[in-house]
Symmetry: none
Subunit: 145 residues, 4 copies
């Protein structure tokens, strides 16, 4: 694992099965990366974000996406109640009226991983929510760019 | 990118920020990998699985979450250019200023799955984006509640 | 609402929350009005000017800002119903939880000016909305920069 | 100014020119109010909000609406820089892609009136911004509903 340092970047070599390397290169091209290094760096960051969210008291940022029919009795009132109980963690919500019935609501959140996981679970389990998803990213502080 | 073939494996070198390399090594150890190559190979495989998910011409709604340092040259201009090229698909973007440097931007999108996947790839691969994620939900029409 | 006519003036009674009446009186004093009636008359005139602004069939963009206590019965359901009736005009809504009770909701809108004015009036008049405001800008097309 | 208290509400009578009373009633009907009292209460609240924003250290909530052509050199970078300098005050920004060139950006803000006024001035004066507007509401705490 020899590493050659140059201007804040390090160069190191890795060994992977030949067919995997080929697939990696094709994917990097298809995704629009200029080179293999940039693609691998992004993958490493994505895995770091996932790895860090295991630790409950680590601060994360992220989104909670909720799909629901706003005509269903009390679903919106229930969601708003839960959100106001945690207004320190929920930065803002973006509400999109998909059609006459369906809403997509996206909450931007920031706080301890364990608390956010719990709020997401509560919102997604609320009666009337058709589909919900917690998407975790980092607050950016400890993610090298 | 000279590669030396040995027993079906290829060796190639990549260049990443020094601090990212350090975080990669720590994560690889915490996850129990014997070496960096095995860890990277597994990450590549995980991303291939996601990349090969079928995204057809079905209409979906969803979000694209992006984390970036807005000081990185041109990152924001690049992201906005991509978004305006597809303003029929991108309903609105919610921008949160996490701190002096880091932004979280959440795009509410709606359109053909394959197109949205392509836009998300382009945005996430953009130079300066630290982390990005496509979250897919339904438009709600064919999802009973 | 019996009214007693005297010298071109009419006297009528209105009913408002006690704390609001108190705030009205303090403001009337601070602004230098001799009595409550003169203050209210001026407010009515100011609102008439805004109300009579011409809103034609020109396409505009803008925002509708609403402040409400989400605990007030049905206010949120009512607002969402109005919004979904006009989901072609309302691009997205940004919802901010100001505290345990108060919400600020900002609707990004785009469409014919007269229709948007009508929707804003309906939302602002909805029971439970403490304060609302229509802010008009242009779609940018015919505004040189 | 005799006031009759009943269940948290007070009833008082005001005297205005006959023609103004008629115009008030027509406007209240056109805006969709159930009765004259509700219309007057909303006008009083609207004027309280405006009255309070004169006091620089009073906490307000509100929005800053900006219209700009994102192709204009550096406009977006400039706006983002200003926003990040004040990320404690700017809760979130909603960005709408009006067409290939024009963006409407709506910032939800909360803080001391004087500071918010200053930030709005700075953003609206930024080169490349075609139109901008500060819309002030209350944080809701001291506005009776």
């Amino acid at each position: 694992m020899k590493t050659v340092r140059q201007e804040g970047a390090v160069r190191f070599s890795i060994s992977v099965p030949a067919s995997l390397a080929k697939q990696l290169d094709r994917m990097a091209t298809e995704k629009g990366y200029d080179n293999r290094s940039l693609a691998v760096a992004d993958m490493v960051r994505a895995h770091l974000v996932e790895h860090h969210q295991q630790f409950g008291d680590k601060e994360i940022a992220g989104t909670i996406t909720l799909l629901y029919d706003h005509h269903k009795q009390h679903v919106q009132a229930a969601l708003t109640d839960i959100q106001h109980d945690h207004h320190e963690v929920i930065i803002a919500a973006l509400h999109v009226h998909l059609d006459h019935d369906n809403c997509m609501e996206v909450l931007a959140v920031r706080g301890k991983a364990a608390l956010i996981k719990r709020i997401a679970d509560e919102l997604i389990a609320a009666k009337g929510v058709k589909h919900g998803k917690l998407t975790v990213t980092s607050t950016g502080k400890d993610l090298a760019s």
